[in-house]
Symmetry: none
Subunit: 532 residues, 2 copies
């Protein structure tokens, strides 16, 4: 059976750049365009040349993309101007791009209220702009802004806008749910009407996530005949974001209903790099990845419930809708207060820790975990502390060094200039093979001071921890009231890019923080293969 | 036109508790159950009594819910046991709940692989368990686990499981997309088949978000006839989460297709508290709210694009699919401070603080709040700190006392008996009307020691703060990396039962904590009417 071609249009660098808090540099844009091209999307919309200096510069030279068509976004000519006398349109035609994606209103209400012009002039602007870009040798698309709302209000005008673009030679007419409020069955019905006028392989869908249905809306449009999907990596975009390509691509590739009917540019081999692409973008933007993201989230294939865990170990298909490896993710069975022996074994396997199923130490580890979780430890959020506890209980962590005592002081007072200052200072005394090492340090706060002092001089182990740094620190009080304990979670990273989490629990926040710091340092020593 | 009743079933405290990284305390569960009840959901599933100590304790007494039915979750009787001789079922029947929601497999594959029993025994277990719970006077539901996958594989058996529950007297038969891989049109088709056997007002839908379509799947089921939706606040839940009630409720209430046909328990008045409920849950879990969440996200109604902003200012409807105020959110146009000012005024009205609309101090307060929020303060979660800042800027908080300096020390060492101990000690020097009062105290940790020392002797104000106690303490690091700041939120209570929240932000955790402690003490003095 021949499969129809379905095209992926990425707008991470244009609509995604509208995300509150996102600002791409030119270098970011170059890297991301390359990454998208390698992933196998068909169009990379780079930005809006003429709208800001970064985008103008980005379109001054064409990035060398192997497969994807580099696309410039911009407005159709303004009302009352000719196409040849519109500076915005001229900038767009000068941009070094394979394709141009125009945006124009397709709602009579928007034409009247936002543009303050006439329907007739709006249609003329579409025709003139598409024709001019086509004449300049570009592949042309039209984003029909507010198409679905416009259709509900005045279907004839919305259709006339779409048809004007198609008749003027646009390769693609893209139907936009600009405000993101349309429901999937409405999309399906309306696209079903549009395909009666314009062939589906010239129709695209551009959905926003304002009701959490951008993915469903995109798939509904495909079911009704559209053959281009616009979206962004990680669903970046204004307000609640655009349709998330990291959710759409695996569904199109792995769910038989779509995979059997359609061919997309993302091969199975490339699909296995999707999680990396998603996390690379987050890293570039310094955003914490969404752990719960479909397919590519760290927790997307995590099982916490004990009864589920034992079923997953019998056959993963019992609780997995697709194989995690297909998108570069992996299965994870959590250790938690509901978990039993099967969970612990799965985690040991995953961490690559050898054990003997009949070793009584294994039973002791399960008990130890239960007791500690009852006391407030949450090992599911602290992979490195879990590994250390497991290795210790099974008898395999060297006593690298020993902290004899520490002392930390925080003082708030007026300094010599009459300014109020807060000063934190810490002293740590460590015994390394009988050698006593005392280090002191100042810090932004007591934990920072302790951290710096602890890692200042570990004697012969110092060289193994040089790349270690803390990247996150979180605190919670458990069982509020008199028996409150403090739980501290620390996330660390090193020069290899690996990150790990450690935990400490104590009535005293400093004590809990110090436990988590110690686990982080010792985990780094274990993983660096420091000699005992 | 009479509208049909659509029921909302919240499983934040049960399926939501399976979220990687989420651990509810008993106190959390009590607060959240109350919040859900106030929001207007019909069922609050509290947990799985017998599965862990927290849930067992939660079900030992019934929380006083005004409207919602308190529901216990658990398994049907085990294969090979009688209903009267199954300890799990007995624990469930003993739980103080209005309703019991059983879970049972409805997939032949799962029965064979995961349960290792027969289809016949599975059906008998459903019948026996439903009958036993019904006999015990409970409203009974059955979660048909893996219903959609089961239906695709063996429709007769999946339907037989659902029918067995219904025929045995279950009020609701809930169709679960346990692995979260089903597409909306499949849900619609399959539910359409089920309603031929079981009336829709006895059918529920339980969807997971593994393809980012849990919301669409839930709505597709309703369109096909189901009349109960199960979901969680903020879409908490194992892996990628459950259907997000914070997206579903506004859609059901505000989109005419649903609002015209269905009545839900969440009134328009309650809907306007949805954003607060969503953020309260995040705060309780110490999770950063998703800024891009549909409806309730901080960025859900933010316009960044210049051209969009000017259209929004002409008529908000140009770029908004619903009114932000309907869900307690607000419009934010990054080029205008309109939103800020009206927001502040609404908050002052809420706190009962008098102001003059033309007072230039009001503009100063708006500016001050903006700067502080940019620096990391989150006044939304700190009502008392907001009130103090507002009263101070408008000129109405006395300088009760002045902290000249403090000093806190934490030491970990061996004591005389060779035990490792951690000792925290603090000294605070206060000026009350020229009188210098120095107090010292030990504590469980540095913040506790500071708190005790600060409140030990405030001279003539001491009698006004006697009832004050801290009930929660939370810490977050913002903007990870070199410019990290620490945000501390403290919840306090007093003898009247009133609780209030205060905030502190600083690079130094002790400094941030002290700010929040000070605000708490001063708020108590203001509210006690202590004379200046």
């Amino acid at each position: 059976m021949t499969r129809e071609r379905l095209y992926l249009f990425d707008t991470t660098l244009r609509d995604g750049a509208q995300t509150n808090g996102v600002d791409f540099t030119l270098h970011d844009k170059q890297l991301i365009a390359k990454m998208l091209d390698e992933l196998g999307v068909d169009y990379v919309e780079g930005g809006y040349p003429g709208a800001n200096p970064t985008d103008t510069e980005f379109f001054a030279t064409k990035p060398g993309l192997a497969h994807a068509r580099f696309t410039a976004f911009g407005m159709t000519r303004r009302a009352g101007r000719s196409a040849s006398n519109d500076p915005g349109l001229a900038a767009l035609l000068e941009a070094k791009a394979d394709a141009i994606c125009f945006v124009a209103k397709s709602s009579a209400y928007q034409v009247r209220v936002a543009l303050e012009t006439t329907n007739k002039e709006n249609l003329a602007s579409i025709r003139d702009s598409v024709a001019a870009a086509k004449k300049a040798g570009r592949e042309v698309m039209l984003d029909c802004e507010h198409f679905f709302d416009g259709y509900k209000e005045d279907p004839a005008f919305a259709l006339a806008c779409a048809k004007a673009a198609y008749d003027s030679g646009a390769r693609w007419v893209v139907l936009c749910d600009t405000n993101g409020g349309t429901m999937p069955h409405e999309v399906e019905t309306i696209v079903g009407e549009v395909v009666k006028l314009i062939p589906g392989d010239h129709l695209g869908i551009h959905a926003h996530n304002d009701t959490e249905q951008a993915v469903a809306n995109s798939l509904a449009a495909v079911r009704a005949g559209a053959r281009q999907i616009q979206g962004t990596l990680n669903g970046l975009g204004e307000r609640c974001g655009n349709a998330n390509l990291c959710s759409l691509i695996p569904t199109l590739r792995l769910k038989s209903e779509f995979a059997d009917r359609f061919e997309i540019g993302v091969t199975n081999e490339k699909l296995a790099t999707l999680m990396t692409a998603s996390h690379t973008l987050d890293d570039m933007l310094n955003r914490a990845p969404n752990r719960h993201a479909p397919y590519v989230g760290e927790s997307a294939f995590v099982t916490k419930t004990g009864i589920h865990a034992s079923a997953v170990m019998k056959d993963p298909q019992t609780y997995e809708h697709v194989r995690p490896e297909a998108v570069g993710n992996h299965r994870k069975v959590l250790v938690s207060d509901q978990a039993g022996r099967s969970n612990v074994i799965a985690e040991l396997d995953r961490a690559g820790i050898a054990y003997d199923k009949n070793d009584p130490k294994l039973a002791r580890l399960v008990e130890e975990l239960k007791e500690r979780e009852a006391a407030g430890y949450a090992y599911e959020s602290a992979n490195a502390s879990f590994e250390l506890l497991a290795r210790r209980t099974l008898g395999r962590v060297p006593d690298y060094f020993h902290v004899e005592q520490f002392d930390v002081n925080v003082e708030q007072r007026y300094n010599a200039n009459g300014q109020r200052v807060t000063v934190a200072m810490a002293v740590v005394k460590v015994d390394v093979d009988g050698e006593k090492l005392i280090s002191a340090a100042e810090g932004n706060g007591p934990v920072n001071a302790l951290d710096v002092a602890l890692r200042k001089d570990l004697g012969k182990f110092q060289k193994f921890i040089e790349g270690l740094r803390l990247i996150d620190y979180r605190v919670r009080i458990l069982n509020g009231g008199t028996e409150a304990v403090t739980r501290v979670l620390i996330e660390s990273a090193d020069e290899t890019g690996e990150t790990w989490s450690t935990i400490g629990v104590s009535p005293n926040i400093i004590d809990a923080s110090f436990q988590a710091l110690m686990d982080s340092v010792i985990y780094k020593l274990v993983k660096s293969g420091a000699p005992a």
